[in-house]
Amino acid sequence: METLFNSELKIINIGLEGFAETLKERGTSVMHVRWQPPAMGNDDLLSLLDKLK
């Protein structure tokens, strides 16, 4: 935790774009992930994919 407090914050934002935009506007180092539900939101397919990993 001390390393977190003593380092420059570099953020990966997954989900709402607004959060990344406000951080970017403030000059914070941020990379936005345009996340979409995996397996097109199909739960059966998703659990199958997870088993394959």
Binding site: I11, N13, L16, R34, M40
Partner: protein, 516 residues
Amino acid sequence: MFIKSHILKNTFRDSVYLMRLSGTVREFEGVIEAETIVGTDHNKKFLRSGGLWTDEIETEAGANDLIIAVKAEDEEKAEQAIQSALDEMNKQVERENLLGDFVPRTFETALQNLSGANLALLSIPGRYVRREADQVLDAGLHLMIFSDNVSLEDEVALKQKALEKDLLVMGPDCGTAIINGIPLAFANEVKQGKIGVVAAAGTGLQEVSSLISNLGEGISQGIGTGGRDVKAAVGGITMLQGLEALLKDSNTEVVVIVSKPPDSEVTEKVLAAAAESKKPVVVNFLGGDLEQVRKAGCEPAGTLKEAAQKAVNLSRKKDAGSGDSVLKADEKLAGGEKKKYKENQKYLRALYSGGTLAYETLILLQGTISDIYTNLSYEGAEKIDDVYKSRANTVIDFGEDEFTQGRLHPMIDPSLRNSRIIEESKDPETAVIMLDLVLGHNAHPDPAGSALEAIREAKEIAQKDGRHLSFVTTVCGTDEDIQNRGEQVAKLEKEGVLVFPSNADAAVFAAELLSN
């Protein structure tokens, strides 16, 4: 009447964006109803039941597509509204350039492209959180989970994993944090300084950090834990980690803990950890046992304002101070208002967007006024049967699930609360309407302006009936917030709205207005 749809193949936008866009299209001239929504089966059922249905949606729209559906007075208006949505989306594409040319679709790719990444902020539907969060922790990043609807089992598993790796998991349902001076999600722009806060209460952290900043001191770190962290089932994992980190942190001289009363075993652990430190620790367990805190060698605070004031005093190497004198209502001001009420005007209607602030108000009202109803779980008040209809003295949190299903949080879109302000003004028994205006990143750009539109209408309704209404408000935030607290306050005061420096002050004044 004409219903028209437009399908954008292989297009995805996040839920907040789409709810905002739907709102913009609904305001377009001649539009009766509109939705911009992802074409999942669930959403298609929703459109069908709402009468926004076309053959095109039935045959063309799939889970990877975006649907714009509009019901308008005629075909031309429907087409214009759809075009307005498309124009708005093009504007967003320009805005996306702000995020850079490269926007990855997975955490893994982002990690490869952001060297030294040390924190991930997750705001995706709750049922997908575990999957992504596991990846984040396995990669050695700290995590803030904004999402709600994450199962207790997942929360415990993630926090235990994080603990083993000495990583922090803030949340789930963590709306606010300030790390290394950077405000995350809904946090406010506050001064940096030597006071560290760990909070299991979102607007509690916003109120305390803003008040500290407004008093001239600053925040070293503001760690959010999510409300469920302090339940026995989670065991206060994040609160204990956060507290320990702040006690060790060389830039933190005073620590503040804010939470609804934790489960007893968590309280004991937290107080025991705080007691071991030489740093002063101010504790506000909202409505909790102050004596227990004092016995543990910590500084108890009965309100968020008192917690902020005591932390500021301690950081200036002064005594914590009693803090009691700060909570005295201006009787002269109250007397002037009370004289204007008609005989049967006797009730308070407190309409909140911040859950912790609403909870604090319930605590402060208890004992001064009776017959209090609320949609929150609070022992000192009755649970209201119908959240859409006030009864006697009512305190409503519009951020609760019943108001936010499929809608934006009232801090972003206050329209539901604004309608309620007008409703309350029609009730001849309403004397006081109380509101919190919460500023900060990602919140409404002008909450005072938005509330004033409803307040003006409410005043007019009351005046026609010869009644005077008192509007008692608090503005949570700082002058450095994009909304600028000073400007927001001036706007409200110009139109006769009573604005108090803290929620506690507003609540005590409201209670005074209704006391005999």
